[in-house]
Symmetry: D2
Subunit: 169 residues, 4 copies
């Protein structure tokens, strides 16, 4: 990409995500839309789970939950934008990928999640396969109106903030 | 989004794409990764098909094929980057969506595809649900090395070029 | 399959379903799990939609709705079993497939949907690509307990019943 | 299901498979087509991989490879039939599922794979969520004609054979 490697913020979370054979295109590379699904799996696992789930998440530290927990919750999320840049193609990996993510922006009713797609043989994150960002907006599940993050949630989420990635274009 | 609507280039292609129930999330909105699949379907239908397929594409004018035609072709494509911005959520549509796309950049070995995601009741494209761009690189299917577009292909593709979209961030 | 073609019941519904490039495996054939999705799309379009959607379904006659309409409904459905037998591989079709379906059994709280996967150039259904059956159980969305179909729904659904398919094994 | 639990053949393989959030329907249950994908992932991991992959498969013993290894191989496979019966709904599991599979029939050019879908807290397999079977035919990748399994492959696969499951209907 460029000379400087991406610095990993201290509060970043590493989420191991399995790659499926059906994520691959005819050339054996993880398809673009499938990669967005891998990011989504990581994001949900990190921030969207019910509290009781988080403690048991295993290898990662218990992440800071957003105040939502699936269907029935009063607060929902919508995606405002998504971007991803690939450094090179990712083939099938028996050991899956590691999605490293952190919050690069924590706004009133929205937040930005930045990601590096890594593999287990690169714990330093020196050669990410892809770099990505999702902008998420918190909304009232019934009306769709933006909902401000409360102070407690913001404080918990603040532990996972870090510098935003720079994209090529 | 902003005051000025997106101008549709003269060479843009409109591709009707079916929305599936399984594209929807628990809130009845087309999921982010599913939307990337809709763009992919439209891009493939417009530029990736074998010549004999293109003539019969029905309602749209025969698109300009890239010199590739699936597995076995000598030239393949890889995605360099993908971005999408949503104006609002898209629910299930019995009549699917219309993906309007054009080439916003035609480089030596790469090209950029810009998209507006529209519905049939908005033929003018005044209120796109999403605006997106995919950067595609032509590569040698065997070696992965970039392959320059030949003059004939470039000339055919030039009929579908247009101004690039401006993204929010 | 065998000597006798499958007879199409009078009340069968024909649902046109689009095939996606991403439904194909590396050999260009619709993948097994993707085919189950095509059946699901047809089944939902025929029986699961909200009443206001049904009238506008276009080419097909308005189907008989089950008394459910997505999240929030009091009655939900679960799949008890699924089977499919392939006569031959199905490649990509620009014009998609036609899923012909009918109710081969209408029980107290469950029903069986039988399917033939056809193409538009075979309106008689003489050479189906696949033959399938899904057994669906109506359940209380809150408790999961089976819910009996009421008399009115049964009467409407009865218009779409027909002889069950015979499977090879 | 019935009084007698399913006996697990000695040569059965247990494959751990991750469940994704996007495998779930609006009710939080693994969707029918998604479950077929889980079976497919397990089947590919057990029998379809290139030899060098198999040794490193981790917790499971090195499985017996079919003489195929993806695109480019001379022998391919097609699905002749698929069936699955559900005992109850499967929700999201942080620890995924365990797909137990074995060969319930080893024919000339075809074989049957039987599966139990289990969870890690049920190593005995007393309460499978689903029971399934896939019939696979080996074909010449170029012509599609059936290809007989050679004696060596049959001998290796024989280590993973076992009694067929009995299905409800």
């Amino acid at each position: 990409m460029s000379g400087m490697p991406d610095a990993t913020p201290a509060g970043a979370l590493d989420l191991p995500i399995a790659v499926r054979w059906t994520d691959l295109d005819a050339y054996g590379h993880v398809n673009n839309a499938a990669m967005i699904r891998l990011l989504e799996e990581a994001r949900i696992a990190a921030f969207w789970q019910a509290p009781e789930d988080q403690v048991a998440l295993g290898a990662v530290e218990p992440p800071a939950a957003l105040p939502i927990s699936g269907v029935g919750a009063e607060v929902s999320t919508v995606i405002a934008s998504q971007r991803i840049e690939y450094a090179r193609s990712l083939g099938h990996r028996r050991d899956g990928v590691v999605v490293r993510l952190w919050l690069s922006r924590l706004g009133g009713a929205s937040l930005s999640v930045d990601y590096l797609v890594l593999t287990r043989d690169d714990p330093e994150g020196t050669a990410p396969y892809a770099r990505a960002r999702t902008v998420v907006v918190m909304v009232d599940a019934a009306t769709g109106a933006p909902v401000r993050l409360d102070a407690g949630t913001k404080q918990r989420l603040a532990a996972h903030t870090g510098e935003p990635l720079t994209f090529r274009d």
